[in-house]
Amino acid sequence: MLKVQDLFKQYTSEDGTPGGGVLGASFDVADGELFTLLGPSGCGKTTTLRSIAGLEQPQGGLISLMDTVLYDAERRVNIPMYERDIGMVFQSYAIWPHMNVYENAAYPLKVAKGKRLSASERREKVRSVLALVGLEDYIERPSTQLSGGQQQRLALARALTREPGLLLLDEPLSNLDAQLREQMRSELKRLQRETGVTAIYVTHDQSEALAISDRIAVMSDGLIMQIGNPKDIYERPTSEFVANFIGTTNLLRGVLNADIKAGNEAPVDTPLGKLLCTFTADVLATPTVGVVIRPENIIIAKIGDDKAAALPDTNRCDGTLLTETYLGEIVEYEVGVSDEIVLIRTKPTESLTPQDAVTLHFPTSQTLALIEKSN
């Protein structure tokens, strides 16, 4: 469907030094998929999106949509943005204030080459799309009288009226307040499923990305760190960066004495002792391998309890409970083990109090040994 290969676009800042961009990104998006570009600001996700749209001209690489090459640095192909079969929803919505709701949504059908319709067909089409996003009662309303959420829907309708081959969404929810954001999030997903349109979604909000996407590409400093479905990205990160960026995690510095291939298990020396870890990517022998484990995957028990006695002997260490933070559905513990502090989350069923001597178990399948950044 969409193919992006070795996409390169580097900015230079005013003083001539390199100033971010995308430094070689490759990915494929399948038909009907909702694909998310996720990363902190300045990671190159917006540049990637704008390059696909044609709003930026890349300096290298290849972009093709279905059978059409949109950009190819080698063959010097660069289809102008207005000839690309792509609809886009902007961060600011970009609803034209001098047009009403209908005119905004109908605009692509008036100007896009090969999408022009007769007046009656156009009216029919715009009505059905506005109905789809729930704006059918606002057709004649001046666009300046719409609320933020309605503008968002109209921006979506405008991008969909021409039935584009690809829909781009540039942080579309970032201007909405928290409650509306969650509501629009599920609605976006529903609309995407209903229309079956292939979509690329850009966000810096990891929970939004996990909730909405079929697949996620996590980006950092112009490079794609990992591509996978939300479950993989969360549970099987292949780099420290991804593990840290998505959710909360414990990170230990370890020493690895042998080269280990992805999918294997091997022991790593950590400040908590030797831990048997799972490898999600190939890692070479290094004195600074990262060992990560999510707080909810560590098993905690009071020394002397039955539960403690039942824990396996491997991947065990003892420490002191430092703090307990009650958060309602879960409880957070900080446990001091030698000089490290380990964060643990459990359901509030344990009866532990600070200063208790506790023992911790790190299940091997969820204790991951990772390099800092993968590519």
Binding site: W96, V111, A112, R158
Partner: protein, 579 residues
């Protein structure tokens, strides 16, 4: 997410399919060429004329430095330079004193009647400078009410004030610049957080102490910048020195330029040398001003979170400030307009008296309305202003759009279009006079020549409005159009133009108003068939046709005030500044 130097990827204007010059869009090259063709010849001919002997027919003779040598070795030049400096400093001081007082009363206190001050701004943009200066000559002249009142108070036999002097020039020019000074200072005072003043009052300071120690001190950088701005404007002004200074034998550089050209035979070389010197002085001052005003703006943004533009309660003192407000209103607008109205309705002007009331007549208006030359002059002026504005508004809109959207090389357009700012109007007149005298197109003396020079002169003003208008359009509004499948031209016509239209209309009105107000350019360029209102008024005054002048002035000012009012309403509605 913002990234530095985000360039646009566009189809048509970048000439994706055309061979282009270093990636610069053809449209930028075309616009830059037009600007160069308009501006460069004026600059070149101006310098040339000052370096070549003047021939009788106006063409260039042998190369010479004589004009500069004459100028720098003459005592008169030094005297005039000192005159000009005193005049400019004095005018700035008067304008700023009135401006500070007005702005403080209106913006920072609960004095009643502050809203009326807007009328000052509206009328002052509509009234021709010549007429405004003349109205003060009527007020302060030998037979004017000011002298009569003074003679009545002191019992003196002869008039005490001689307005045709340096101080007369200072007072008149200072009052003329007071509205501008008020306008700029009011925006400074308005953006001050009231809590700064409240904190001072809570520390035990009185209203005047607070005004002196807090309000004025906070506005100090802005006031300094404004001082230089008005200094420059007065230094390069022509109307007041010509009408007030020359009859009293007080010359400044701008009147020297005018006299070099007005004498027979015209000494273009000398005028050129004066102009070049004035150009460099003003250029240097402008650089200084730009630096200061940038600082002033930095200083202005000190307002924090709890910003409340609240005003100070003056208690019963507000009636005093109200009276001051009324007095200033009368001085700036009431008396000048009043005297012109009076003069327009009497058969001859011999001061303001009850006896004269019996002579009231509309004959002057009848004479003026039936005069062909009046019709011609009004027609010419409207054509001139409308033509200049109609070119400047869309042209600068396109330049500003290309600049704001960072088309490659478009910064040149911005630089070129704002460059005429360093030309004092009279210098611009001299420069274009040289162009038209030396070009074989027969443009000399035509209305078209005035239009061309005015266009160039007011390009920077147009640029300022267009730029502000374009800045308000979010880039994504245009990108959304491209992503809808619209080509760049479609986007420009269907999205950019409608969105920038209010700014363009405002820009049009402003350029129209300032170009029809001015004297300096047409006085050097106009021929017998291309008279404009400002010149007609100027000539009528020189020839002593005072009453008909007043009738014509009242009519014209009424017309222009309506246009000015429309301009203010539009500018306010679309959030554009009205400087």
């Amino acid at each position: 997410m913002t990234t530095p130097n985000r360039s646009v990827n566009n189809g048509l204007f970048s000439g994706a399919r055309l061979k282009n010059l270093f990636g610069i869009s053809p449209i930028v090259v075309v616009l830059a060429s037009i600007l160069l063709v308009l501006i460069a010849p004026a600059v070149i001919f101006l310098f040339q004329s000052s370096l070549h002997e003047t021939q009788f027919d106006g063409s260039f003779g042998a190369f010479t430095f004589q004009y500069y040598v004459d100028l720098l070795t003459s005592d008169q030049f030094l005297t005039n330079l000192i005159n000009a400096t005193i005049y400019a400093v004095g005018s700035a001081a008067v304008a700023i004193s009135i401006g500070v007082l007005l702005a403080w009363i209106v913006e920072r206190t609960n004095t009643p009647g502050g809203g009326w001050v807007l009328i000052i701004s509206i009328i002052s943009l509509g009234i021709p400078s010549v007429l405004y200066t003349i109205s003060f000559l009527m007020l302060l002249g030998k037979v004017g009410p000011a002298n009569e009142i003074l003679m009545w108070i002191t019992g003196a036999e002869d008039p005490l004030l001689n307005v045709y002097s340096l101080w007369g020039m200072i007072i008149i020019e200072g009052i003329e610049f007071a509205p501008l000074s008020y306008l700029l200072l009011s925006s400074v005072f308005r953006s001050n957080d009231a809590s700064f003043e409240e904190a001072s009052m809570m520390s035990g300071a009185g209203i005047l102490q607070t005004f002196r120690n807090i309000t004025l001190r906070l506005a100090q950088p802005a006031i300094l910048a404004l001082l230089i701005l008005i200094f420059i404007r007065a230094f390069e002004s022509f109307e007041t020195p010509a009408l007030v200074g020359l009859p009293g034998n007080v010359s400044v550089i701008t009147t020297d330029i005018y006299e070099s050209i007005d004498e027979v035979p015209a000494n273009y070389g000398q005028a050129g040398a004066f102009s070049v010197v004035l150009l460099f002085i003003v250029g240097a001052l402008l650089i200084w001003y730009n630096r200061l005003s940038r600082n002033a703006e930095r200083f202005q943004t000190i307002t924090g979170k709890g910003f409340r533009p609240r005003v100070m309660d003056l208690g019963k003192w507000r009636w005093l400030t109200g009276a001051i407000l009324a007095l200033l209103f009368m001085i700036i607008i009431g008396f000048p307009i009043g005297i012109v109205l009076w003069v327009s309705m009497v058969p001859y002007y011999d001061g303001v008296s009850l006896e004269a009331l019996k002579l009231f007549t509309l004959d002057n208006y009848r004479t003026v309305f039936n005069s062909r030359s009046f019709h011609d002059s009004i027609g010419n002026t409207v054509i001139m202003g409308a033509a200049a504005a109609s070119v400047v508004a869309p042209f600068t809109a396109l330049c500003a759009w290309l600049t704001v959207r960072r088309y490659k090389g478009a910064w040149i357009l911005d630089q070129l279009a704002t460059s005429p700012l360093i030309f004092p109007a009279i210098v611009m007149g001299v420069a274009f006079l040289q162009v038209f005298l030396n070009l074989p197109f027969g443009l000399y003396g035509t209305l078209l020549s005035i239009i061309l020079a005015s266009m160039v002169r007011y390009l920077p003003y147009g640029m300022r409005y267009s730029y502000a208008g374009i800045l308000q359009i979010h880039t994504e509004l245009e990108e959304a159009s491209s992503m809808s499948g619209a080509r760049q031209t479609t986007t420009f016509l269907r999205i950019v133009m409608p969105l920038v239209a209010p700014a363009m209309v405002t820009c049009w009105l402003f350029v129209f108003l300032v170009s029809v107000k001015a004297v300096s350019i047409p006085i050097l360029l106009a021929g017998p068939k291309s008279q404009v209102v400002a010149i007609t008024l100027f000539d009528m005054w020189e020839n002593g046709i005072t009453n008909e002048l007043a009738a014509m002035g009242v009519t014209w000012t009424g017309f222009m005030t309506i246009i000015s009012l429309i301009f203010y309403m539009l500018a306010k509605r679309y959030g554009l500044s009205v400087r």
